[in-house]
Amino acid sequence: MATGTEPQTGASPTKDDESGAGEVEARVGLRYTLRQVKRDTTARIGIYTVGFVTLVAVLASLDYYVFDYGIAEAIWYSPVQDPEQVRRLLPPVGMENQYGQGTLEHPMGTDHRGRDILGRLFYGTRIAITVGFMATVIGLVGGTLIGAVSGYYGGWIDDVLQRVTETIYAIPFLVLVIAFMTAFGRDLSFAMIGVGITSVPVFNRLIRSRVVSVREEDYIEAARAAGVKDRNIILRHVIPNSFAPVLVQATLQIGVSILIVAGLSFLGFGAQPPTPSWGQMLSASRNYMLPAPTFSLFPGIAILITVIGFNILGDGLQDALDPRINN
């Protein structure tokens, strides 16, 4: 699974081959993790990519909520909707198609309504990052709670909760989200919740298996003997000890969620026009693939770069957090 360069992570000073990966991590903590990630070239690329995309998303949100498109207008986004002046389906700068010559004014060309593609991509970042992140948080919180309760108590609680998550997992998740959004609403917030629900089983499984192994640890016994409430044992001891694999999974899951949300928007479930989203741009571009192929090209590249960033970062984190994997 690992993508990183390998020697550094293998030589960690606190490495302890006999104990589980989580225990290694628990001893060395977050700061150590970050240091390991920074030393890994591939992981650094991941951090930079994710950082860049997130920065763009923050800028786009600021522009949208605070500056009322001020930033974009100043740079390239012309809100002019005068039908006389609109130039549809222009190619990128330096290229030519039947609709005209690409200009620097629209570096990536224009879409079927004459809107600047780069500008639409810029705002699409906001949707992709927000929805990808929120969906993962929903899945993470839901899956962690279910997995922790299930693993800690065992017995019939475990059985019931696990059967329910298995059933959710048994419906292909794109189909499940589509059905969910049909039932409750086609807009973006339901896309987040729907995609979040489909990732609940992933986190549930992860946390549950960790909790089952941590449950028998001495310090949990000690806490119980000292009269600490079950809820507090789970929240303060059990969950924090499962931090490492969850962080890796969450990072990868953001990428997966962005892909699913793009697919949903492509099918018409998600951000509704005129709100720009990458999937919806690709959906619109389908009708112009022959005259303006670059219209279909750029949104896909935006998705690809973003998701690759999260995947590289996830792999890098995994290498840093679990030194045994690469030996």
């Binding site: 048994a170 039932a183 995947n311």
Partner: protein, 331 residues
Amino acid sequence: MGLLRYTLWRLAQAIPVLIGIITITFFLANQIPGDPVEIMLGPSPAQEQVEAIRARYGLDRPAYERFLNYLSGVATGDLGQSIYYDRPVLEMILLRLPVTLYLTVSAFVFAIATAIPLGVISAKRRNKPADHVSRIVSLVGVSTPSFWIGLMLIIVFAFYLGWFPARGLPLPWEAPGDIRGAETQFEVLRTSLHHLAMPMIALGTLQMAQITRIERSSMVESLQGEYVKLARAYGVPESTIVRKHAFQVAQLPVITIIGLGLSTALGGAVLTETVFEIQGMGRLIITAINNQDYELIMGTTFMFGVAFVVGVIITDVAYAYIDPRVAYGDE
């Protein structure tokens, strides 16, 4: 006998899951806003007409009664009536399911056939250029939206080069007369494969990338096993070690990942079918949703669940066949 009993046991285990799927789909379909009768009859239909339709489709009865009816219907193979197509839901599904299965299974064949050599080469030449190339390919593969790959393939190979058709997917066993330009069964097969190439690659790329990653790490681990060291010590040639000793053991995690990938692939089929305008289950569920065809929505969602559950059982049994400890361990 272990394997047969294991298969039956896995099938029995699937029953509560299937009932769970029906419950979820019924609950979701019940939440859908709007009135299917209105959609069918237009904006202001006559009251008697509405009531007649409601009674005919059982919409006038309470939810729990409809649920129990639906459940017993499913048990006897009756998935209800599609309001939009005015045909039994099961009939529509049986018409469309083969197309989706043909596409999905082909995508997996493509994925496995490319991923296993890539993964093995990657593991054998760890940290050499071949390994880096294969890892970059799989990283890009897991990060690319399948429908975008489809669009790019259409632009390049259908529109510019004209090598492959951009839409549709005839089945290889369709009658020769039904397909334009295909006189014999062999030509039908050829036309079918010609149409299949691009959607198969679009849908299979993600699976290919995932299987490559697993194959690589599994082979790396397997090549470090004690039995491999022993074989080396005996002077068995390295190529034989890779082919005979390390490879077989390394395939177990790969089978698991194929089973899990089914969920992604069946969902991805909805997108691929949209891009290539293929009339399969994916288009069926979208049509059902756009026309608020309750029973068709429930039926298609349920069938997607069934396809996934059956696929997982098949991979589980394959796993048990290769590693008999699984089948005997569960008794």
